[in-house]
């Protein structure tokens, strides 16, 4: 290992982030390397300097003037929750965005029926996942802001894509068997509908706020895609597709305010809601794993499905909330089955 690598380890060591074995090995190197030894001493001294820098102190009337503002009825400053999430027609198709959107569509489309065996880790960090983006795809952390951004981009991109393929779709509609055409379109439609639904759900739950016209645009997409999926014959499908392709992608330009910064709150609501659905085909098991790989009791369910995402707590422990989606299988036991992939990942 190069001295640079050792020095990055020393930075971790300063914060007590290394195991005792690794720390011992690191200190052995420090004892034998003048460069790293000097770096270590200087790192500690620099930290002492930084920690001795005086703190700012709020003024003596901070509390009283704050309560004056509160009692005067002053509301929340608009900028408090603003994490601008511009959605534009120039959406680049990011693998990470697509993979997370695929996970999103699973989250919001549980009732749709059979789902392919797929594991998604939509947590942050550098964990690699094997998903439809291919191995090595990094998924973005699903904070409310990124969830809204991914959803909005998926809708804008999906609508744009359908508009551009309008002519070829019409030709295929005239010539291809309907079931085949439906099957091919279904994944994209589900992603569109799931993402639009996600925006509506987050808006209803006051997780995000958006202008009325932007909200209406997402509602329209959800409604029209439903019509496409529910079309009984070729004529109905044609009409619904035409409605869909008439939606202008620039309707999705706007700013979305993130009202809820609490990722835990958002996902607790989301998953507890689905855990109660008791779908006989697809259930939901929420497993909470500590970082040392011990299982803690999760929410009970019919035991056949798990999903993965990462949750960070403010306490001394970091929990990884892991969930995976798959079919029910005979012999599944609630809460006891530990998927092998889950074990290997940790």
């Amino acid at each position: 290992m190069s001295c640079h690598r050792y020095q990055s380890q020393l930075s971790l060591n300063l914060d007590g982030r290394l195991s005792s074995a690794r720390r011992e090995s690191l200190m052995q190197h420090v004892d034998s390397c003048d460069v790293c030894s000097r770096f270590w001493n200087e790192l500690q001294a620099a930290q002492r300097l930084a920690m001795r820098l005086p703190q700012q102190q709020v003024s003596a009337d901070f509390r009283s003037s704050l309560f004056e503002r509160i009692h005067a009825g002053e509301g929340t400053p608009e900028a408090v929750f603003r994490e601008p999430i511009p959605t534009t027609t120039k959406v680049r198709y990011l693998l990470s965005g697509a993979a997370a959107a695929a996970a999103l569509l699973l989250v919001f489309d549980l009732w749709r029926g059979p789902i392919d065996n797929q594991d998604f880790n939509v947590g942050g960090g550098t964990e690699q996942v094997a998903d439809n983006g291919g191995p090595g795809t990094f998924l973005r952390p699903l904070s409310p802001a990124s969830l809204a951004e991914i959803s909005a981009q998926t809708v804008a991109h999906g609508v744009n894509d359908l508009r551009q393929r309008q002519r070829s779709l019409s030709n295929r509609l005239a010539s291809e068997p309907l079931p085949q055409l439906r099957q091919q379109m279904e994944p994209k439609l589900r992603a569109l509908r799931g993402s639009a639904h996600a925006m509506r759900w987050m808006s209803e739950k006051r997780i995000i706020g958006m202008p009325a016209d932007l909200r209406a645009a997402f509602d329209t997409v959800e409604e029209v895609v439903s019509s496409v999926q529910g079309a009984k014959n070729r004529q109905e499908l044609q009409a619904a597709l035409e409605r869909l392709t008439r939606i202008q992608p620039d309707q999705f330009v706007g700013e979305v305010d993130v009202l809820c910064c609490d990722q835990e709150q958002m996902f607790t609501e989301l998953f507890s809601g689905y855990a109660q659905r008791q779908n006989p085909e697809i259930g939901l098991v929420v497993k909470v794993l500590k970082t040392d790989n011990q299982l803690l009791p999760g929410q009970p369910s019919n035991g056949s499905t798990y999903m993965f995402l990462q949750r960070q707590t403010t306490g001394s422990q970091t929990f990884q909330l892991q969930i995976r989606m798959r079919h029910s299988e005979p012999g599944d036991q609630a809460d006891n089955a530990i998927p092998r992939r889950l074990q290997r990942r940790n």
Binding site: Q7, S8, S11, L12, L14, D15, R17, F39, N41, E42, L43, A45, A46, Q47, R48, L49, A50, M51, R52, L53, P54, Q55, Q56, Q57, V58, S59, F62, R63, S65, L66, R69, I70, G73, E74, G75, T76, P77, E78, A79, V80, F81, R82, E83, G124, G125, T126, P141, S143, A145, S146, C260, C261, D262, Q263, E264, Q265, Q312, T313, T314, T318
Partner: protein
């Protein structure tokens, strides 16, 4: 500063107790963080107050255990908003503010010899400057973790980045800070 009134329930007594405690525990740290981001102590106090105002209005939605990272996250958003809208500020006034508003170190108050006091102040200014000169992304991680003592996980939640990114930025910040203050290090 624009405001938006949202109709949210008034906090109950338990929530108020938690709120007051949070103010006692975190106000100074938040102001320090904001001051580092904005390089403006007066504005930092306004931003800190805005953050607590927001918390008060959303007490029913934020668990007490999450106050600290929530407040830091909100403070950061407010600072970023100010930075985006900031107009050019003359350096002259910034220097004046520094002299008036910078908190005093214990050494300043000991009544030591003027030359010693000047030397200490000079060292402190150099160290201050070393922090302020860190690139913004490194500075955030450095201030939160090194100076405010937040965990990597809390900093990651506040900044909206993975934990590993926090550790990388902190390491790089430490490298630069160490290099900038070498002559002031007491080994």
């Amino acid at each position: 500063m624009t405001t938006a009134n949202r109709s949210l329930p008034e906090p109950d007594s338990l929530e108020l107790v938690a709120f007051n405690r949070a103010m006692s525990e975190h106000a100074d740290g938040l102001k320090s963080f904001a001051a580092r981001m904005l390089s403006d102590n007066l504005l930092a106090e306004d931003v800190t107050q805005d953050a607590f105002l927001a918390l008060y209005r959303h007490l029913s939605q934020v668990p007490a255990s999450a106050f600290r990272p929530w407040l830091y996250r909100v403070t950061r958003n407010l600072c970023l908003d100010h930075l985006r809208r900031r107009k050019f500020k003359l350096r002259l006034f910034r220097d004046v503010e520094k002299d008036d508003d910078r908190p005093h170190t214990p050494e300043d108050l000991h009544g030591d010899r003027p030359d010693q006091v000047a030397e200490t102040r000079e060292a402190q200014e150099a160290i201050d400057e070393a922090v302020d000169k860190l690139p913004p992304r490194f500075r955030e991680a450095f201030v939160l973790c090194e100076m405010q003592g937040l965990s990597y996980e809390d900093a990651a939640a506040i900044l909206g980045i993975p934990v590993k990114t926090v550790s990388t930025r902190l390491f790089r910040a430490r490298q630069r800070f160490r290099a900038a203050v070498t002559e002031h290090l007491q080994l």
